[in-house]
C-alpha cells in the first residue's frame, strides 16, 4: 500500500498519466531499442520516488528516454551514454552507483559482512561449536534438581 502511495508522488501532479514508454519513442532498430531499454532501467527518474525512467510516467522521464535514444542513434556506446547523463545530471541519475570512495561502504558491505560472519563462524566451530559441553546438571537450579529426583522416584515407583 505504501509503495503504491509513494509511486503516486510521481503521478499525482498529472491529470492524465500516460504509459511509461510511448509508442512514438520506440526505435525502429530492435537491437538499438533493446539497448535503450536496458539503459533506461539503470537510470533514475529524478522527480520520482525510486523509479527508473523505464517505469516512470513523468515528462522528465520521457525527455530522458528520448535523449538516451538520440545518443544511441548518434553512435554512442552504452558507457558513453551513461557518462553523458552523469555529466549532465550528476551521479543521482544512476540507480546503481559507481564504485568510488564515497560509495565504498555501500558496495563493500555485503562481502565484508559475509566474510566477517564466515570468520566468526569458523572460530566458533574451531572452538568446538558452542564451547564446552555443560555438565549433566549444570543448567538446573536446586529446585529443579529436586523435581527431577522426585520424577525419577515416581517413575521407579
Amino acid at each position: 500500500m505504501r509503495r503504491i502511495a509513494l509511486a503516486l508522488a510521481c503521478v499525482v501532479s498529472l491529470t492524465a498519466p500516460a504509459l511509461a514508454v510511448q509508442p512514438d519513442e520506440v526505435l525502429h532498430d530492435p537491437a538499438l531499442e533493446a539497448r535503450a531499454r536496458t539503459l533506461s532501467r539503470e537510470l533514475r527518474c529524478m522527480v520520482c520516488q525510486n523509479q527508473s525512467i523505464d517505469d516512470s510516467d513523468a515528462p522528465l522521464a520521457r525527455d530522458l528516454r528520448i535523449l538516451v535514444r538520440e545518443r544511441l542513434k548518434a553512435g554512442d556506446s552504452d558507457g558513453q551514454v551513461m557518462d553523458f547523463l552523469v555529466a549532465r545530471y550528476g551521479e543521482f541519475v544512476l540507480l546503481k552507483p559507481r564504485f568510488e570512495w564515497h560509495t565504498a561502504i555501500l558496495w563493500l558491505a555485503p562481502p565484508v559482512v559475509l566474510a566477517l560472519g564466515a570468520i566468526a563462524l569458523f572460530a566458533f566451530l574451531r572452538r568446538g561449536g558452542g564451547g564446552p559441553q555443560p555438565g549433566p546438571n549444570a543448567d538446573l537450579t536446586a529446585a529443579e534438581k529436586k523435581r527431577v529426583a522426585e520424577l525419577l522416584k515416581a517413575d521407579r515407583g
Partner: protein, 661 residues
C-alpha cells in the same frame, strides 16, 4: 460523541499499559504472585480498550462523519462500504491505530494462551510488550491523533486516494502489520530472557509458534503487496526494491533466519546467544520499517528535517528500544550458557549457513536502503540506490543459499554425512541438470541466466520432495505403507518441505517472468491487432462507463490464439473527480501459470490509443510459491509439539495444558 469515546479509550489503554509495564515486572523480580497475576487480565483489558478506540474510528468512517478531520481527509460518502472501512488504515493516523490494535491483540493472546509459560516469564514478557504499546499510544495521542474534530463540519470528504481504492488495501496492510508486530513477541521473550538472565531450549519452543505466525503473515503480506502493485500500478513489475518494500523484506529475512536458528536452539540447546540477538534484530527492523515509512524521511532528508515532530518521536522510540535492547544484550548475553557441539557438516551447520547468508542478505538490503539517506544527511551528496544495485548484490547471495536448501533437512544432527546427503539428492541434481540442458536446447543460449534459474529452481523443488520421499521410504516400500508413514510424519517435517518447495516455485516464477517475459508497445486504431508470442489481440474500440465514484474509459480487446477466440480483455482508465486523478486498470488473462497483461496509455486525437501488452510466463508461481511457503508455515505451526506445549511440567497435568498457539 463517538470520536471522543475512541480518544478517551486510547488514553485509558495508555494508562493500563503504563501500569502493566511496571507492576508485573516488579512482581516477577520480587516473586510476588499477586503482582504477577495482574499481568494477564490487564493485557486483555488493554486490548478491549484499543479495540473500542479502533471501532470508534471505524464507526466514524462507516457513517461518514466528516466533522472528524481524519475522515474528511480520507473518505467520501459515495465510496462503497468496503473502501470506507479500509480507509481507516489508508492513512497515517489510522494505520498507527491498526498497529497498536494488533499489538494489543498479540498481548491478549499471550495472556490467554500462555498458560504453559512459567508465571514470572509470562509477566515479564507482558510487561515488555506494554512498554512498546505505551510508547506507541503516546506517539498516536501526541502527534497523530485520528480523532481530531473540525470546527465546521464539511458536507463531503476529500476521498481516499484512488490507487488505494482496491481490495488490496483490505488485505495487505493488516497482514503486513500482523507480521511486523508479531515480531514484537519474540522480542519481548528475548528481552525477558535477558532480564531473567537464563534461557534454555524450552524458550525456543515457546517463541516458535509466535515467530511462525509472524513469519506466515509477513510472507503473505509481502506477496499480497507485490501482486497488488503488479496489477494496480500498470507497468507490470512485481518487485521494485523500493525502500518501502525493503522495509518489509528486512524483517522477513531476519524472521526466516530466526525460525531456523530457533530450531537449533530447541533441538540442540545451541546458538542461544545468537538466537536472542536475531529476535531483537527482527523486531528492530520492523520498527525501522515503521520509521522509514511513517517519518517521511524517505521522500527527502530535508522534508524530514522541516516537519520533524513525528519523525523525531519515532526516532526516539527506535533509539529507546533498539539501543536499550542491544545494551541489555551486551550486558547480559555473556552470562547465558552455551549449548551443544556440532560439526561443520551437520543439520546445525546447514542452519548456521542459512543464517550467515540470510543475515548478510538482510544487511545488504539494510545498507542499500539507508546508505543514500545517511550520505545525504552527512555530506549533502545525493546518490540513488535502486533495483540494479540490489539485483547485483542480493542475487548472488541467494544462489549459495538456494543450493544449500535441499541439503539441510537431509543432514543428521551433530555430525552429518555430506556425501550421503548428496547421494540422496542424485534425483534432484539430475532433474536440475536435465532442466538446464533442455532449456539450452529449446531456447538457445539467450537469455543467459534462464537455464541456470530453471535448473536451480527444479533442484530446490525436487530436493524438498526428496526429504519427504526419504522419510516415508517412498519407492522402497509399498505405496500404501509409505502413505501411512507420510501421515505419521511430524507436521513440521511437512512444513519444511512445503516452505522449501514454495521457495523453489518462487524462483521458477522469477526465472520465467524475468527471462522470457515479452512486451509490445503500440498505438492501435479500432480493428487493428497486436501480436505477442502466439496471442493476437484485436482492439475493438472503447466504451465509456460509470462507477460509484469514478468514470472510466474501457478498451475492448479480443484475444485469439491460432485464430481461435479465447477471451476478451478490457483494460481501462478511471478518472476520479474528487481528487481529479486518473488510474490505469490493467486487464489480466491467466493462461496456466502465465498471464497476458494489457494496460492503456492515452487516447490520441486520431482515434488510436497507446497500448502496452505483456506476456509473462510462469509469473503466477511467484505468488503461489509464497502461498505454498505460508502453508508450510501453517503446517509447522500445527505440529504436535507446539499444540501440546512445552515443557511438560508434570506427567499428570499434561492433559490439562493449554495449546501454545
Amino acid at each position: 460523541m463517538i470520536p471522543e469515546l475512541g480518544h478517551y479509550a486510547l488514553v485509558l489503554a495508555l494508562a493500563l499499559a503504563l501500569f502493566q509495564g511496571v507492576v508485573p515486572l516488579v512482581g516477577a523480580r520480587r516473586g510476588d504472585s499477586a503482582l504477577i497475576a495482574v499481568a494477564a487480565p490487564v493485557a486483555v483489558a488493554q486490548f478491549l480498550f484499543v479495540a473500542l478506540s479502533f471501532s470508534a474510528l471505524a464507526a466514524c468512517y462507516v457513517m461518514s462523519d466528516f466533522s472528524v478531520s481524519n475522515v474528511f481527509e480520507n473518505s467520501h460518502s459515495a465510496m462503497p462500504l468496503i473502501y470506507r472501512v479500509t480507509s481507516v488504515w489508508g492513512n497515517h493516523e489510522g494505520s498507527m491505530l491498526l498497529w497498536v490494535l494488533i499489538l494489543s491483540i498479540y498481548g491478549a493472546l499471550v495472556a490467554s494462551f500462555g498458560a504453559n509459560l512459567p508465571a514470572a516469564l509470562k509477566a515479564t514478557v507482558l510487561s515488555v510488550q506494554s512498554w512498546i504499546a505505551a510508547t506507541f499510544y503516546l506517539f498516536i495521542l501526541t502527534t497523530s491523533n485520528p480523532f481530531l474534530r473540525l470546527v465546521d463540519a464539511p458536507f463531503e470528504g476529500r476521498d481516499l486516494n484512488p490507487i488505494l481504492q482496491d481490495l488490496g488495501l483490505a488485505i495487505h496492510p493488516p497482514l503486513l502489520y500482523l507480521g511486523y508486530v508479531g515480531c514484537s513477541i519474540a522480542f519481548s521473550f528475548a528481552v525477558a530472557a535477558l532480564i531473567e538472565g537464563r534461557i534454555d531450549a524450552a524458550w525456543a519452543r515457546w517463541v516458535r509458534p509466535w515467530t511462525l505466525a509472524a513469519w506466515i503473515c509477513l510472507t503473505l503480506g509481502i506477496a499480497m503487496g507485490s501482486y497488488w502493485a503488479y496489477y494496480e500500478l500498470g507497468w507490470g513489475g512485481w518487485w521494485f526494491w523500493d525502500p518501502v518494500e525493503n522495509a518489509s523484506l528486512m524483517p522477513w529475512l531476519a524472521t526466516t533466519a530466526l525460525l531456523h536458528s530457533a530450531v537449533v536452539m530447541e533441538k540442540r540447546d545451541a546458538l542461544k546467544v545468537w538466537t536472542i540477538l536475531l529476535a531483537i534484530l527482527a523486531f528492530s527492523l520492523s520498527l525501522i520499517g515503521t520509521f522509514l515509512v511513517r517519518s517521511g524521511v524517505l521522500t527527502s532528508v530535508h522534508t524530514f528535517a522541516s516537519d520533524p515532530t513525528r519523525g523525531i518521536f519515532i526516532l526516539a522510540i527506535l533509539v529507546l528500544f533498539i539501543g536499550g535492547s542491544l545494551a541489555l544484550y551486551a550486558w547480559r548475553a555473556p552470562m547465558l550458557k552455551q549449548g551443544g557441539k556440532f560439526a561443520p557438516f551437520s543439520r546445525e551447520g546447514a542452519l548456521v549457513f542459512n543464517n550467515l547468508f540470510l543475515t548478510t542478505a538482510c544487511a545488504t538490503v539494510f545498507v542499500g536502503t539507508l546508505y543514500p539517506l545517511a550520505l545525504e544527511a552527512l555530506t549533502g551528496e545525493k546518490i540513488s540506490v535502486g533495483a540494479p544495485f540490489f539485483n547485483a548484490t542480493f542475487g548472488p547471495l541467494f544462489v549459495p543459499l538456494l543450493i544449500a536448501v535441499p541439503f539441510g533437512p537431509l543432514l543428521a544432527w551433530k555430525r552429518g554425512d555430506l556425501l550421503a546427503a548428496a547421494q540422496r539428492l542424485t534425483v534432484a541434481v539430475g532433474v536440475g541438470a536435465v532442466a538446464i540442458a533442455a532449456t539450452f536446447v529449446s531456447e538457445g543460449s539467450q537469455p543467459v541466466l534462464a537455464p541456470f534459474g530453471m535448473g536451480l529452481a527444479l533442484f530446490v523443488i525436487v530436493g524438498a520432495l526428496t526429504d519427504i520421499a526419504e522419510r516415508t521410504m517412498l519407492f522402497r516400500i509399498p505405496v500404501g505403507l509409505a502413505l501411512k508413514r507420510g501421515i505419521g510424519l511430524p507436521r513440521s517435517a511437512w512444513g519444511t518441505a512445503f516452505a522449501h518447495l514454495g521457495l523453489g516455485l518462487v524462483l521458477l516464477g522469477v526465472t520465467g517472468e524475468t527471462q522470457w517475459g515479452s512486451e509490445r508497445i503500440a498505438s492501435l486504431k479500432p480493428g487493428e491487432k497486436i501480436t505477442i508470442r502466439r496471442y493476437d489481440l484485436t482492439f475493438e474500440g472503447t466504451v465509456p462507463r460509470a462507477g460509484p465514484n469514478y468514470r472510466e474509459l474501457a478498451a475492448r480487446f479480443t484475444v485469439r490464439r491460432g485464430g481461435e477466440v479465447i477471451g476478451i480483455m478490457e483494460p481501462s482508465k478511471r478518472t476520479f473527480a474528487t481528487r481529479s486523478m486518473t488510474t490505469t486498470e490493467a486487464a489480466l488473462m491467466t493462461r496456466g501459470t502465465g498471464q497476458l497483461y494489457v494496460s492503456l496509455g492515452d487516447p490520441n486525437p486520431d482515434g488510436s490509443i497507446a497500448v502496452r501488452v505483456y506476456h509473462k510466463p510462469l509469473v503466477l508461481l511467484i505468488w503461489l510459491g509464497a502461498v505454498v511457503m505460508a502453508v508450510g508455515g501453517a503446517l509447522s505451526l500445527s505440529d504436535r509439539r507446539l499444540r501440546v506445549g512445552a515443557p511438560k511440567p508434570a506427567k499428570g497435568r499434561a492433559a490439562a495444558m493449554q495449546p501454545a498457539e
